[in-house]
Amino acid sequence: MPEKKIGALIVDDEELARHVLRELLASHPEIQVLAECANGFEAVKAVAEHKPELIFLDVQMPKLTGFDVLELIGTDAAVIFVTAYDQYAMRAFDVHAVDYLLKPVGRERFEAALARAKTHMGGKIPPAQELAAAARAPQQHLERVVVKDGTRVTLIPVSKLDYAESQDDYVALATQGKKHLKQQTIASLEAGLDPALFVRIHRSYIVNLERVVRIEPYGKDSRLAILTDGTRLPVSRAGYARLKSLLDERG
């Protein structure tokens, strides 16, 4: 049995872009391309199925971006991002010292990235949420949240997110009567959401302002927020102050 090969995944929505990477990898017999994926959903599935050690991940893809994919698959594999031109993404990679390739991809740069990825294999790359946050244009907020259920990926547009509840290491995202669990801290979720639309009403709760029907007093120094679907959420004193100033701003 020959020495163990490094399993790799190529993720790009453009056939020609995948071809370039495949060709560049051809001179590396120690690397075996396990699968090629044309979109993020396939990538999430392929990662679960093949457990690759190395992933070439395009940033701009339909529906699920490279950052979304990273967020969903965790960070066990070495990831090399590939992007054509995205000033914010490039800045994010630089800041977090993540390896990336710019299209068109040249042989020399490719070899360097590969060599680095090999030495760093098994090393930690920063949490995907941090990377994605750094790659967002200034003043741009999350437009949807991605959640994985096994290999099923759900996209929740923020307009359909009713509220989020912190549950230990997870947040439960409530949307249209359903709850989705996601491994994320409520603070990092809050940081990505538009503060004009979402407000942290409690240590454990973020609410979509559009869903709040009224606020009721509840015991001393505490209140309840009643949502359109009848859900009752606790509102802390600090949360009430934030909520009130936001509602006052809106008039």
Partner: protein, 356 residues
């Protein structure tokens, strides 16, 4: 140059304004004294003729002491002193004139009759000069505000031109790098196709460079640009990109601002195709009726997909350019329903550039 002397009709108006002044002065001089109407007029009319020119000199002292940058005391001192001196000289000239005129047999005794009126004339000269000062300040202020207005207008026009120029030169770097990546892939897979794409890209870039100079181009030129663009994107997206067009043949000669439609088609491709896994259709329709050119650009899109780049900016730029070119005569409607995004534009159909 003095503002009253240059346009001849303005100078005439100034002289005319002096006639009632001369008449009033004649009346004042004739009234209480022994000087009759006739003798007063004979003395005053030449005096006023001279004095109206003397009063024009206020312009120079007004310019030397701008009202905003001088203290009130200085202004008062300057002008009062000038008024006193000038009026004094004028009165002395009047005395001389009266003396000379009184040599004439028919005007004997004029100088004696004039002597008691000297303070009246001095007062009148003093006030007239100050009036002239006030009037000149008014003119200066008017001129300044008019100048400021035209300066503001000029800068706004310059700013708009610069802005439009910047808007035109907008080949998306993302498009460029992705195309180069496709070419790089094709060099080994299909060298002939790689070369073809290089040429398409070069032609596209050449066209966009040339267009920056022009204010209008025929639709046929913009279409050729769009076809190049779409041919390049078709290599990237393969079967995901479908393009359908419906162009009225005779509409192709009408004019439009260059690169007006390209960003819209690019938007359609980016949002309709690049963001959809299955791809979609981009439709372009151009019609001409009722003296107006109407363009519709439509793309299918995946309603569940959210764009990584907003399309608002591109649309706003197109709207601004269209409005700048055809103020109040252009329309732009953006509609989005179900899985269809549609931009409709219309503007007056023009065949040849109207030379201003």
């Amino acid at each position: 140059m003095h503002p009253f002397l240059t346009p001849i009709n303005r100078f005439g108006l100034y002289l005319l304004a002096w006639s009632p002044l001369a008449a009033i002065l004649t009346y004042l001089m004739a009234g209480p004294g022994k000087l009759g109407w006739f003798r007063s007029a004979i003395l005053i009319i030449p005096l006023c003729l001279v004095y109206q020119f003397v009063c024009l000199s206020a312009w120079y002292s007004c310019k030397a002491a701008p009202i905003q940058r001088s203290t009130l005391l200085r202004l008062a001192l300057t002008h009062v002193t000038a008024a006193a001196i000038i009026s004094f000289l004028w009165v002395e000239a009047a005395r001389l004139l009266a003396y000379v005129l009184s040599r004439l047999p028919s005007l004997q005794g004029l100088d004696e009759q004039f002597a008691p009126q000297v303070p009246v004339l001095f007062g009148a000269g003093f006030l007239l000069y100050l009036l002239s000062v006030a009037f000149h300040y008014l003119i200066l202020a008017l001129e300044e505000s008019r100048e400021a207005q035209s300066r503001a207008l000029e800068t706004s026009i310059l700013a708009r031109e610069a802005e439009l120029k910047a808007l035109k030169a907008q080949v998306n770097p993302h498009f460029l790098f992705n195309s180069l990546n496709s070419i790089s892939a094709l060099t080994s897979v299909d060298p002939a196709k790689a070369r073809k794409m290089c040429i398409l890209l070069a032609e596209f870039l050449r066209m966009t460079l040339g267009l920056g100079e022009k204010t209008s181009i025929p639709l046929s030129e913009e279409l050729s640009l769009l076809h190049h663009y779409l041919a390049i994107e078709a290599v990237r997206f393969g079967s995901r990109l479908q393009f359908k067009e419906e162009i009225q043949e005779h509409a192709k000669n009408f004019l439009l601002p260059p690169l007006l439609l390209q960003p819209l088609v690019e938007n359609a491709v980016n949002h309709g195709i690049a963001h959809s896994m299955e791809g979609g259709v981009v439709r372009l329709a151009v019609h001409c009726h009722g003296g107006r050119l109407s363009v519709g650009i439509e793309n299918t899109f995946d309603p569940e997909s959210t764009p990584f780049r907003k399309r608002g900016l591109g649309l706003a730029n197109v709207r601004r350019r269209l409005e700048a070119r055809y103020p109040n005569e252009s329309t732009m409607n953006v509609t989005s329903e179900d899985d269809r995004f549609r931009v409709e534009l219309s503007w007056p159909a023009e065949l040849e550039e109207v030379k201003a």
